[in-house]
Symmetry: C2
Subunit: 476 residues, 2 copies
Amino acid sequence: MNIRRPLAYARAHRQRFVTELKEFLRFPNMSSQTARASDIRRCASWLARHLQGIGMQWVHVIPTRGNPIVYASWQGAKNRPTLLIYGHYDVLPGEPLAQWKTPPFSPVVRGRNIHGRGAADDKGQLFSHVKAIESYLRTARALPLNVKCLFEGEEEIGSTHLLPFIARNKNALRADAAVISDTKMLAPDRPAISYAQRGGLRAEIEVLGPRQELHSGTFGGAVLNPVQALCEIIASLHDEEGRVTIPGFYDDVREWSEKERAYMARTGPSDEKILQDAKIEQGWGESGYTLYERTTIRPALTLNGIAGGHNGPGVKGVIPTRAVAKLSFRLVPDQDPERIGKRFREHIARITPSAVESSVRTQSPVQPALVDRNHPAVRTAGFAYKKGFGAFPVFLRSGGSIPVVNAFQEHLGIPTVLMGFGLPDDRIHAPNEKFHLPNFYRAIDTSIWYLAAAARTLRGSSRAGRAERLEREWSA
Amino acid sequence: MNIRRPLAYARAHRQRFVTELKEFLRFPNMSSQTARASDIRRCASWLARHLQGIGMQWVHVIPTRGNPIVYASWQGAKNRPTLLIYGHYDVLPGEPLAQWKTPPFSPVVRGRNIHGRGAADDKGQLFSHVKAIESYLRTARALPLNVKCLFEGEEEIGSTHLLPFIARNKNALRADAAVISDTKMLAPDRPAISYAQRGGLRAEIEVLGPRQELHSGTFGGAVLNPVQALCEIIASLHDEEGRVTIPGFYDDVREWSEKERAYMARTGPSDEKILQDAKIEQGWGESGYTLYERTTIRPALTLNGIAGGHNGPGVKGVIPTRAVAKLSFRLVPDQDPERIGKRFREHIARITPSAVESSVRTQSPVQPALVDRNHPAVRTAGFAYKKGFGAFPVFLRSGGSIPVVNAFQEHLGIPTVLMGFGLPDDRIHAPNEKFHLPNFYRAIDTSIWYLAAAARTLRGSSRAGRAERLEREWSA
């Protein structure tokens, strides 16, 4: 199979690929908002039709109790290995909308970037593989190896239904390696492979005060205010060294060797670079660690939002009835999200003043993940990057969570290559999210190279190559 | 002038009075929401037309830079004293709307109460005097003394424009005493006169973090979160004894004699009663003081609301850009709101961590107020209560603020009688606010008796009695 033809095809059709990506970005399919369920379904159908259109053999929109999974496979490469390509088509909400230069779901190309919610996270990156596959199927009518695409619609809310789906469909999903493009590079010419992700846990603390709003003149000074109580609880969760005060929180945190920390210092971003990326002047956090370490090998507790009482325009002299805070734990090996959740609930119950009531809800536990940097699937990615971007990747740890990486390891027994095509300034999860178009084009090339090379480097499992159509057994 | 005729008239027209009060309550004229300016104006016009309709001589809707003042006078009682009746026709918003059994601006009578925003605070109480005046003017075609009604539309936002208006119109407003019904009794048969109100100051703290929302995975642990910083600031504003930690906050707080505290203990509500009124199980606040003392002779800092980051449905893994808290100071003699505001701003600036920025806005300063319990105007109120409610009033301190009381003292040199007709469970500022209808009827009778008695007990100023129509000089 001559690789020049798919590469030439990809180059020739760039403009159409961007137009199609715009179509994909136009769906306001925010998984965190149940009101958007129909947008989610429309987007899933669109993606499935698209995969069918480019020539994938088996395409399914698999319903779950949540958002559907879009699956597509091509298994015509007998005795060749199988690659599982994962991506997520769901996105975060666009809020705060006022800060967008153009609306989040009206994608536009400005300069060399395409702007819109999901441009980089993850529609644009997912689409790079789709376009690589198309480039093969439209030129060679075949792929160099077997491919299974697994695109979910709930990544931003913890992959609630995908994870049990993987556990239940081990045979159908059998593959030799997985590739995910949902991380970032260091710069447009500096590719990176993320070999570690933090785990996570979402939590919500609710504090209930008086049963009805009270006049703050009549009762102010005699009633514990739930907003104040919540603030006191939150304030107590960090000590002055930036460490989390939940008892036992650090018990299972793995300490890394000087050698590993030296490697990180050499390859990873400097404090200055991280501050620059965040557009802030001053860092913060656990003393004794660099900012890169604080965001990768150290756990964190981050407030995502708070609300209570009157927060509209004007003033209202009340003692509110309740206050709620949303937060995220970012966890590292060998912390266990469930155990941390339990400790957190117990701690909040213990420190809540008796004059108010508190409750804690946790959700979306994600295990921290580590990938072997020497696996052939990972090394092949290095080669593909060199071809696509002209440079070998650095190996980085990443601060976020990709829950599915653990599931692939645990249930399918395969490593995951985190071949990111995003850039540090893509503003994922923020207003004016964008994807750098040169990265989009190179990502497609890189994926084309990866498919070709992985066909030779991955150890083919005969069963995975036999196109068994195990998908018929889907159990969603 | 025979008092029986107005009393009989009031009794005979109760049903219509309630219907008219409903009309009055239907205006959603929330002064804290600028979007409601036209509702405010409609309500002011309605009230003015109503005052004209009952026979007041001079009725003006006086525009200000904010909401209009409704003024009406009757000055046909030569050589008789003049009484200034103050009330406010503006109301607070109805939020949280979900907790209302019937919508806040669709007043209904349920049992012996009329429900709706403003029923007790202050439309219903204000209206009691209007109906007393009507009862005289419709039966005797005269009032027993001269009356000036001053009804403002900005009480809930600090009487911003009324206070300078009073300062500028001393002559036109000249009177011998003022009466305000905007406080509460102890029980339906236990009238009360509030002789002290706390002062106040509204404040807003804004904390700014990163310029754009950041992914809490990528940056969590390395960036000071503005929600967390705000919580830490707020948490630090009280110590473990429930005292406010702002340096110098208690410097000017007047200490009361054992005798005064014993009087308060004898006449005022017990801790148990206050807990009952607030429908809470457990009190809170500055140690060493009863709940009544904590809400009257001790200052307080109360959080009214907080907001920051993602607080809609679902989860969003972000480090927010900003967080805002709204709070109210409740101040006591001899604290000065301006000085407290300055100390607060300086304190917040001092304790804000350098990794974030903070700003403080203060507004609506109100001086604490004290009224002489032995002034004839106050003693006459005792008599009127006895006639209207069958019981003499107790003298209470109140925790809220009525800014105008200070202005009457300072600019007009007159005492204010706080003749409240509300009840502790009226839920003012809260969902399901109501006014007890038997109190409404008795309030009208009490006002009728008060007008009659005050005609004899107040020292008439000849100038005030000369119907000088100084209103022509209004300077709004």
